[in-house]
């Protein structure tokens, strides 16, 4: 298991260096995205209002306070369950050049092949650890599609964002696949002995 520090946006070359199980800390700019944001892009065919090439997407819907100048201050920002949004993995990589999807709980095996083909990774974060995550978010720089609040498209500036595990790498490996397979074998044995 290696440890890495990466600044986003990044390149396919950097992403290909990561292996499932590695630990990663992230700096730079990341985007917050959720169910409704992606339904708008892919099911309603609305072009995202910002360039996602090389991007890091975080599955989130934050608690925020609106300032008098129209901007937003982060109050509590954490991460939601990724599995609901697995079907967007392929078009995010193929059509938009997204390099990393980050969430909690893992993505099902359907994400493995698109990530291998398009040079993407899935980062697993500690779900529920939002108080800590909020301290790693320096600012909310932009908010697009405010009418979807809180499922807008958010641009955050982050520092020391993590710890993140490479849950799925761009070489066909998935920690979640492996844990699930081992757990099902154990389950079979447990059930046989009930």
């Amino acid at each position: 298991m290696a440890e890495h520090r990466l600044t986003f946006p990044t390149t396919e070359k950097e992403i290909r260096k990561l292996r499932a199980g590695d630990l990663v800390t992230v700096d730079g700019h990341i985007f917050g995205i959720r169910d409704r944001t992606q339904i708008r892009i892919f099911d309603q065919g609305v072009e995202p209002p910002v360039e996602l090439n090389g991007a890091f997407l975080l599955h989130t819907a934050p608690n925020v306070r609106k300032r008098d100048d129209g901007g937003y201050d982060p109050l509590c920002i954490g991460t939601t369950t990724s599995a609901r949004m697995v079907r967007f993995t392929e078009p995010l990589g193929r059509d938009h050049g997204v390099r990393a999807i980050c969430g909690k709980g893992g993505l099902p095996d359907d994400a493995i092949e698109p990530m291998r083909e398009h040079g993407m990774v899935y980062f697993a974060i500690v779900g529920g650890a939002a108080a800590l995550e909020t301290t790693q978010i320096e600012a909310i720089e932009e908010v697009y599609w405010e009418e979807l609040m809180p499922e807008c498209l958010w641009k955050f500036r982050v520092k020391d964002f993590g710890p993140l595990w490479v849950g799925i790498d761009s070489h066909g490996n998935s920690m979640f696949h492996d844990v699930n397979e081992a757990a099902n074998k154990r389950l079979e044995k447990i059930l046989a002995e009930l």
């Binding site: 893992g106 108080a131 492996d178 844990v179 447990i190 059930l191």
Partner: protein
């Protein structure tokens, strides 16, 4: 309404407004202890790091006076109403509703409630039939207990029901619980509390499963047969290897709690309701004169 009733309704609203935010920020000691124990037991490298991060997060929430988790949940309240409590449950419901609104707007908290078909937001964590309030009535008493359980969706989405048949027996119950938790994997933010409801009817089994997750961590069902099943399932669930956040490890669940009801001779319902590691809950005891005692551990 009389002045007494108006004052009491205000006291219940104040309690609800406080409980909702407090539950989100300051998790109970029994849960903190269970998480620390889990950290001591875990041997996998990612699992240890996950649990250390969780413990650090609880400290950061305290230091920064912030929410433990960003999911402010769906507002669920459990009420025990004394026969002689001088405010009718219809007014208690209104007070809980108003308190939820106030907490959401004043903090402010993320508002999660939407119309289930249109998906449009319905208000500050309230809507049609939300908050969800469960009632219990107590004879020969004039108090009110309110427990607030803001329930996160990541874990609530991992809820399962099976109408086992009597011939499936206890083995069928165990099998369904184990399969449900392995199937849920990392999605419900393990290690959490597995709530199991057995018996009753289909809807009541799920109600009992939810009640089970709201108990203090590690308490045992008073029925020794049920308590034995809690212990057995707790051990078996931790043999699955799902581990913290589903990254593999020794600690998959912090506890297994079971609530039961007697049932029809042809029924054997089993319901599973998962509660994430951030098992938020906070209670208030309100006396007939409106004086309120807050209780993090109930």
């Amino acid at each position: 309404m009389s002045t007494v009733e108006l004052d009491l309704q205000q006291a219940v609203e104040d309690a609800a407004a406080h409980l909702y935010v407090w539950a989100l920020k300051d998790i109970p000691q029994d849960l903190r202890d269970a998480l620390a124990d889990a950290s001591g037991k875990e041997t996998s490298v990612p699992g240890q790091r996950v649990l250390q991060t969780i413990l650090k997060n609880v400290q950061v929430a305290e230091r920064e006076n912030n929410l433990v988790c960003q999911d402010t949940g769906i507002a669920v309240y459990y009420c025990r109403v004394g026969e002689h409590f001088p405010l009718h449950p219809a007014r208690i419901y209104q007070a809980l509703y108003d308190g939820t609104v106030r907490a959401t707007l004043d903090h402010p908290l993320r508002s999660n409630t939407v119309h289930t078909l249109t998906r449009e937001n319905t208000g500050p964590n309230v809507g049609y039939r939300v908050p969800i309030v469960h009632w219990d009535f107590v004879a020969d008493w004039d108090g009110l207990d309110v427990k607030c359980v803001p329930k996160g969706s990541g874990s609530e989405n991992m809820s399962f029901l099976k109408m086992c048949v009597p011939a499936d027996g206890v083995k069928g119950i165990k099998q369904f619980v184990l399969e449900s938790i392995v199937g849920a994997g990392g999605k419900p933010c393990p290690p959490g509390i597995v709530g199991v409801g057995i018996g009753g009817s289909a809807d009541y089994a799920m109600h009992l499963a939810k009640e089970a997750i709201a108990r203090p961590v590690g308490t045992r069902n008073p029925d020794p047969e049920v308590a034995k099943l809690e212990e057995e399932l707790f051990e078996l669930l931790n043999e699955t290897g799902i581990g913290p956040m589903g990254l593999g490890g020794d600690v998959t669940v912090l506890q297994c709690h079971i609530e039961h009801a007697d049932t029809h001779m042809t029924l054997n319902p089993v319901a599973v309701n998962y509660q994430c590691w951030a098992a938020r809950r906070a209670s208030a005891h309100i006396a007939a004169d409106g004086s309120t005692e807050f209780d993090r551990e109930a």
